[in-house]
Every structure is written in C-alpha cells, then in structure tokens.
Amino acid sequence: MKYKTLAIADPAKLIYGRAPRPIKTRRGMCIGGGLIYPELNFTLPDINIRKEAMPEIVRHYQQIVTEALERAAELEAPGVMLEFETLPPMTEHPALGMEVVNILLEGIEDAHDKYGLKAALRCTPNDNREFVRPPLMRSGRYWDAMLELFDQSAAAGAEFLSIESVGGKELHDDALVNGDLRAVLFSLCVMGVRDMKFIWDHIVAITAKHGVHAAGDTACGFGNTAMVLAERKMIPRVFAAVVRAVTAVRSLVAYECGAVGPGKDCGYENPVLKAITGCPMSMEGKTAACAHLSPMGNLAAATADLWSNESVQNIKLLGGMAPTCYMEQLVYDCRLMNTAAAEGEASALQMRDWLVKSDAGRDPQAMILTPESSITIAHAIVQAPSHYAAGIAAARAAVKILRETNEAGCLRIDAREAGWLDRMDDELDDMPHTEDAFIEEMMDEVDLEKFTPADYGL
C-alpha cells in the first residue's frame, strides 16, 4: 500500500473544483485548481462499426465535436474536456480508433482557433481482453491492440489516458447476482488489484514516453454494475453500497502506479480516491441520466473537478443533436457551481452541502459517498497493511456507516434489506486473517474455467 495518510483529511476540504494536486492542460485549463469543467462523452447511434461504415462514422464524430464545442464556446465555458471512450472495434483495430482521435483533435484545434476555447482530449480505449473466454489478460492480440491505441493516441495529442479495466470481472458478475461479499472481495482485492498493477505499469510507461497524463481507471464493471442492478431492484442497495466502498481499493492501484487524474467519470468511488491521493476527479450524476440512472445525481457533483454526462448517442433531440444538448446542460451545471465558488469558501461549501443533503438520506450508496463517509472509508483503506485487508476494512466501514446512519434516522433502508447488514457483517467476520489463507480457500471454491490464475500471478 503506497498511501499511508490522506491528502484530504478534513471533510470541509473535500469539495468540487479543488484538489491538492491540480493538473494543467496544454491549453491552460487547471483541473482541480478552483473551477469545475464539463467533460463531454458521446457515442454512436446504431451503426455496425466496420471499415465500410467509416465515412458515416467520421461524419458523426465531426458533427459531435464541431457542434458541441461551438455551443460550449457560445456559453463561455472556461474549458472543456472531451472523452473519447472507444467502441470495442475501434480498440480492436487501432487504425479505426485513431481516425476518430484525429477528428476530435482537429475539432479541438479548430475551436481554439475560432473561439479561443480551451479543450483537451481524454482517450479511453476498451479493455477487450475478455473477448476470449477465459480472458487472456497479459498477452494476445486484444492486449497488443489496446496498448497500440494508447500509444498512438498519446503520440497524436490526447493529453489524458484512461481505461475501464476488467481484471477480476470474470468472477464478479456472479458474485453480485449471488450477493456474495467474499467473492466480491476476491474479485476486486485479490484478482483486480493484481491486474491493475500489471495494466497501469504499462499505461504509465506510455504516458511518460509521450509526456501526457495517466488519468486513472474505474471499477465501472464492478461498482456500476452493482449500482444498476440495485436501481433495478435486483440486488439490495446496501449490498451495492458496500461493493462500491470495496471498489475504491481496486481503483486506487492506478494512482499507486503513477496515475495523476482526473479520475474517470464513472468511478463513483472517486471521492474516496480524491481524499486519499489528492488527485482531481471526474464524476457523473444527474446529467448522465442519458446513459444510466443513479441514486445520487446531485451528490456526485459535490466533490467533482470535471462533470460528465457519461455517454450519449449522436441522435437528434428537439434542442439539437444530443451531445450538443448535453454539453449545454453540463456547462450550466458547472456555471452554477463555479458562481457559488466565486463568492467564497462559505458559498462553495453551502452549494456542496445542498448537493450532498439532497441525496444522502435517500440511498445507501449516496450515504457512503458523502464527504464525511468518503473520508471515513479512505481512512480505513490507508490504515490497512495490504489491499486485501483494505478491502475488508472498507467494507466494514461502509456497513458501519449504513447501520449508524440508519439507526440515527438519517438514512432510509428498505425493510427487506435490513437483514443484509447482518449477513455482510457475518461474512466479514468469517474472512481469513491472511490473504494467502483466503486465496487458498477461494481456489477450491471458484470456477477455474472462468479465469486463468497464472494471468493474475496466482
């Protein structure tokens, strides 16, 4: 464990737009330096992505970047991050991905020339390693193509590199639908942590080579899958909330390997990571309802340094093309928060607290991501001697927060979920003392056809 203390230990300092380790972009945005900026993410409508369709695909991305940045400039956005989260064939065939990267970079340059708009590009290739089953985690054509796209996009001018990596997910989906916290801990803190170390050492080497930023990972496939399942009433919300706390341990590894942020939008665990690392973070919430529903649309903004819409198709809405409409919404969200901050610390805190209070008592996941709870969980993580112990400590801290806030009448927990807190406590009590003992036990229990232990150094 690299981090032994917190970069932000005082909840009053865990606030939007400010991070102890801000990042400057080439065009002069300072992320985490006082302002919150919009981060726009976009995707294609239904199109079969293949070579022949590239002219149409190119037209979509050209339209997205031109119209959305024009609107950002008209609304006087102080700066904009564009995230190009590729679609799987664009990483599988880096030449396709690079065609889009170049269009977006040109669009960014044009908007700077025409309007003086400060914008930067985050490139997020797909982690396609699981296209083969069991996944090939450390070699093979999917691994090679992913590294190639990272390398080429950084060389072309993408300033930030991110990924939603999937190491450990082979067992995690089943762990979720079975409500099995032990298996969650194994997937995230044993398998996930090992894979993160492997993948992020490679990404950081690429960013160092090109002088760009390693911006961080997210446990999207873990924490957000849990959150969406809970939103659909398929698994208990308290369980999804505890899973979220544990995801912070996995995502932290990117920063331990040298990532500097801004952490990726769909990492709802990012407030915990901001408290530990001091790096700026992107978040998504109410303005990402175009992509998925969440129980903390306001609260997510409270500690964000970039504010994202997560993903929207390039389709026509009444106001204009959807990415342009979402750019407008993001710019207005950020403008309001920046206006509050410009009036001084007290106003910024007031704004933050309204964002927090409007959600926190209504949902367990929201409650464990308030600034106070995030710092409690962050503390539990940095005090632990290993990632394994940190996972257990984060889960325990989350269960405790849920129990106490519920008992104090600050958090509503559905009656049929109450028993799950005891169930999770029991599971945590039964966890072996050492990681080695845990691994030994789990190797007898897990389905070894689903993953290759050697790919995790197991």
Binding site: T43, L44, P45, D46, I47, N48, I49, L87, P88, P89, E130, F131, R133, D173, L176, V177, N178, G179, D180, T225, L229, K233, M234, I235, P236, Q313, R416
Partner: protein, 210 residues
C-alpha cells in the same frame, strides 16, 4: 410422510439439503419423476418468479431457489430420460456478436429454466453462424438474442436475417436488451420481445402459443 407440497416449499425457500432428501423419498413413495417436475419444481419457480416480478425477492434469493431446483433436477434428469421424457420446450439463448453483456441474458435463461425449458446457453459474442449451428444441433422451439449496445443492434438484425435465410422459419426468435424495443423487434422480423427477465417467460409462451 413428506409430500409434493413439501418439495415445492423447499425449492421456494432455496433449501438444497431438504431437496436432496425429499426427492429420493418422494420417488421411493411411488411418485413419478414427471409429477415432481410438473407439480413441485416448475410451480415453485413460478411462485419465485412472481415474487421477483413484484420486487418481493432479490436475484440472489431467486438464484438460491434456482439452485435448489437444479439439485432436484440432477436426481430427476436421468430418470426422466430413462422414461423417455424430454422437456417439452427447448431454447437456445446468447448475446449477439460483438457484445459481452450477459447479466440480463443469464437472468432470462434462469427464468426459462425455471419454467421447465431445456436451455442451451451459447454465452456472449455469439456469431450468426454459431446460432445457426446450435439451431441445427438442438432443434430448439425458441431462440433468444440479447444485445446491450446500440452498436451491436445491427448484429442482432443480421443474426435474425441469417437464421431465416438458413431456412429456419419455424423457430421463434425472441429478443431483448436495454436498447431493444417492440418496434425494433417488428422491424427486424423477430417473433417476440420482452423488456425484462420477469416477463421473458410470458413472452416466450406467447410466441409459442402456449
């Protein structure tokens, strides 16, 4: 003496150990394997499915019941086969080519199994050729296609077209997934659509006219 009702209750409550003792006991008392299936197991999963539909139980609780049913089936299946009894309906299911999302598809498969269908799950990233191969091998009554990405919806369309072009006009094609709608199903010539796992059994039965 134990009854069929006891077995049904044990499956509803996911009590695998009880199922392991009840099934042999009931068989020994002279009850036919087919009766245990049709009077205890399938109705039990029907009750659980209803509770799930009404948000009275979570998926983990539903899966505990599904595993209890599987426990019973492990004992019953060889006996049913011996007696020449096969499930009335066979289904093949998979997530279309290019798409790796499978949680929703797995839930649909679980619900279909609970309804007594013999389900062959082809997994994720399934090519049209693989679907056709499976249709020719298993002769299913129904084929379920799942897609979660807008960019794999065309693969769903291609799969439906390829299955029909290969001459499999009788097999019922049911589709689903977050971006899928009834009108998309109509547009690509699928026989049915369901918006969630809970209604996938009804949709399959409607497509099969049962």
């Amino acid at each position: 003496m134990s009854t069929i009702e006891d077995l049904k209750t044990a499956v509803i409550n996911g009590r695998r150990k009880d199922v392991q003792t009840l099934v042999p006991e009931l068989l020994e008392s002279g009850i036919e394997p087919a009766a245990l299936l049709s009077q205890a197991l399938i109705p039990a999963m029907g009750v659980v499915g209803e509770r799930f539909k009404k948000n009275e139980v979570f998926v983990p609780e539903m899966l505990v019941s599904a595993r209890a049913m599987k426990e019973a089936m492990n004992i019953l299946e060889p006996k049913l086969l011996e007696a020449g009894i096969r499930p009335e309906h066979t289904a093949v299911i998979g997530t279309v080519e290019g798409d790796l999302h499978d949680i929703g598809k797995n839930l649909v498969a679980t619900m279909w199994k609970g309804a007594g269908f013999d389900v062959i799950d082809l997994g994720v990233n399934v090519s049209p050729a693989r679907f056709i191969e499976a249709i020719e091998e298993h002769k299913p009554h129904i084929v379920g296609l799942s897609a979660l990405l807008t960019t794999t919806m065309p693969a769903m369309r291609d799969t439906v077209a390829a299955i029909r072009e290969a001459g499999h006009s009788a097999v019922k094609l049911l589709i689903g997934g977050a971006p899928i709608t009834q009108s998309y199903a109509d547009e690509i010539g699928a026989d049915g659509y369901s918006r969630d796992a809970a209604s996938a059994v009804d949709a399959a039965k409607a497509a099969l006219g049962i």
